[in-house]
């Protein structure tokens, strides 16, 4: 959870994924969509930020024998690029694919960094300005359909909830396990406000909380809001 020297408005910190750690600090990938993120954009270099974290549970670390299909929408790239970079660093020699979609080619960022990890890239833009013309889920489904042996294949996805719901449907269809990093309003990040509660698929309650039990969940377990 990150907050600038904002005073009383906006009041609450904002949730971000860690893109990568750099000696003593960390890098974030931020898209300016509203009041808080726009203030980040306006901030002077060196402006103090208060950061609370790392919080919650990340994607399960890459393992030998597993083939990870990373499906990113927009800034959902951040935790998946982290995942790919960890895999590259630990030279965990598993094949890894990144399906990365956005509205238009300008929203596809950090392509050099992605290339450096050695993952196989499948880009898609809704306006066709780069990569496949259409949703990233089409690229994913095409890929899965052509693969005969899907043992060890795992989908890791982060992006708009609507996209992730589509990804989960595909995972279910092809019987591939799927990990989702859910989006949603968060006030505290530490399990206190109960604002980030997610219904469980088995209908049981109390809910799981995205901030402490997630944001990464086994897609079979939670209902994406």
């Amino acid at each position: 959870m990150v907050r600038g020297e904002w005073g009383r408005d906006p009041l609450l910190p904002r949730a971000f994924s860690i893109l990568r750690t750099v000696d003593g600090g960390c890098e974030l990938l931020v898209k300016a969509i509203g009041r808080g993120t726009r203030l980040f954009e306006l901030a002077q270099p060196g402006a103090p930020l208060s950061v609370l974290g790392p919080l919650g549970k990340p994607f399960a670390a890459p393992e030998p024998g597993r083939t990870d299909l990373l499906v990113a929408g927009g800034v959902g790239l951040a935790p998946l690029l982290w995942h790919a970079e960890v895999a590259a660093k630990t030279s965990c020699a598993t094949p890894m694919h990144l399906f990365y979609g956005a509205r238009t080619h300008e929203d596809l960022v950090l392509l050099d960094d992605i290339a450096r990890t050695g993952v196989m890239q499948h880009l898609a833009t809704e306006d066709g300005s780069r990569g496949l013309h259409g949703r990233v889920t089409i690229a994913l489904e095409q890929h899965l359909a052509t693969k005969s042996d899907r043992a060890g294949t795992t989908i890791l996805t982060c992006g708009p909830n609507a996209m992730m719901r589509a990804v989960v449907d595909i995972a279910r269809k092809y019987e591939v396990p799927c990990l989702v990093s859910v989006e949603g309003e968060m006030a505290c990040g530490i399990g206190a406000c109960l604002g980030c509660a997610l219904p469980l698929t088995d209908g049981s309650r109390p809910f799981a909380y995205a901030c402490v039990d997630g944001p990464v969940f086994d897609a079979a377990r939670v209902v994406i809001p």
């Binding site: 009383r8 906006p10 009041l11 309003e185 309650r205």
Partner: protein, 310 residues
């Protein structure tokens, strides 16, 4: 010898507290969530998440949204239930060395009484805070706490089942906060918490939908501080001997001083703990600094100390 340090201890409705700074119900979990960020024994008290006789799952999402200098919530009083609280949450709180104030509620009078009685029997629970801002299902969603006669009756019934300090948390959604305060005291309360959240709403204009799944929720944060301060002062002026715990948008040590001057004996830090989990610690430090600057050796000098008020 060095000067004695500033004295922060206060006595509230029979509770001895090391500081006037408590944390507010629903904004501090069951205490444990915040243990990594501050020393709970420095707090004057912790008001727990509201407890009901049975566990509750709460409302659908979205449950929270931000507003100008504030937020709206409609958590739906999700909680572990009175038994779950005793088993899973109380042991930690008992060991924490702070005053444990258990916020409780029910859907019916009987619920309230059952919950109050169960909590009365629990060792380690120092006081009860009754949340009367719950929509009464039978009365068509009107809050229990808005009708002085209903409120007085409810307080009286709960009073009968507990000898522990009984604090009534008043709702601000009313024409006359003093009438509710009086009714509570006549029902046998030991103190009052002023105020709970203010009924509010936010709309996503592009999606044409409420931003909160239940349409209405409770507004909290600095936005409501001027309203809370007004209500604390009104109650204190009308009932100067009644201990008041002031709540609403407290974010700085100076805010604490303002509520004490208006007549509160303790205050509760709420939403600010979401913005910074160590908020109560920072605010404690700022209050001490304020006292030093103003040459106040005992925090009790501030209580009700407003001058020139009408």
């Amino acid at each position: 010898m060095s000067e004695p340090a500033e004295r922060l201890a206060v006595r509230f409705a029979g509770l001895d507290c090391v500081s006037p700074i408590w944390t507010a119900s629903g904004t501090f979990g069951y205490g444990q969530e915040f243990a990594p960020y501050l020393d709970l024994s420095d707090l004057g008290g912790i008001c727990t998440k509201g407890i009901s006789p049975k566990p509750r799952g709460g409302n659908p999402l979205p449950r929270i949204c931000e507003t100008a200098s504030g937020m709206i919530n409609s958590i739906g009083l999700e909680n572990v239930g009175v038994e779950g609280f005793r088993e899973k949450k109380l042991p930690f709180l008992k060991a924490s060395g702070t005053r444990v104030v258990v916020n409780f509620f029910g859907e019916t009078f009987d619920d309230y009484v059952a919950c109050g009685a169960a909590l009365d029997a629990m060792d380690g629970v120092h006081a009860l805070e009754m949340n009367v801002s719950c929509p009464n299902i039978k009365k068509g969603g009107v809050e229990y706490g808005t009708d002085p006669a209903v409120l007085q009756d409810l307080v009286r019934q709960c009073r009968a089942v507990t000898k522990k300090p009984l604090i009534i948390k008043l709702t601000p959604n009313c024409t006359d906060i003093v009438a509710l305060a009086r009714a509570s005291m006549e029902g046998g309360a030991d103190g009052l918490s002023v105020i709970n959240t203010i009924s509010a709403m936010a709309i996503d204009a592009r999606r044409r939908r409420p931003r909160i799944a239940t349409t209405f929720g409770g507004l909290s944060g600095p936005a409501i501080k001027p309203i809370a301060l007004r209500m604390v002062y009104q109650v204190h002026r009308a009932l100067p001997d009644v201990p008041i715990s002031g709540i609403g948008g407290i974010a700085t040590g100076e805010d604490v001083a303002e509520f004490l001057l208006a007549g509160a004996t303790t205050v509760q830090v709420g939403t600010q703990s979401f913005a910074e989990p160590h908020a109560a610690r920072r605010i404690h430090g700022e209050l001490v600094q304020f006292m030093r600057d103003e040459k106040i050796s005992d925090v009790r000098e501030l209580i009700g100390g407003l001058q020139g008020g009408r």
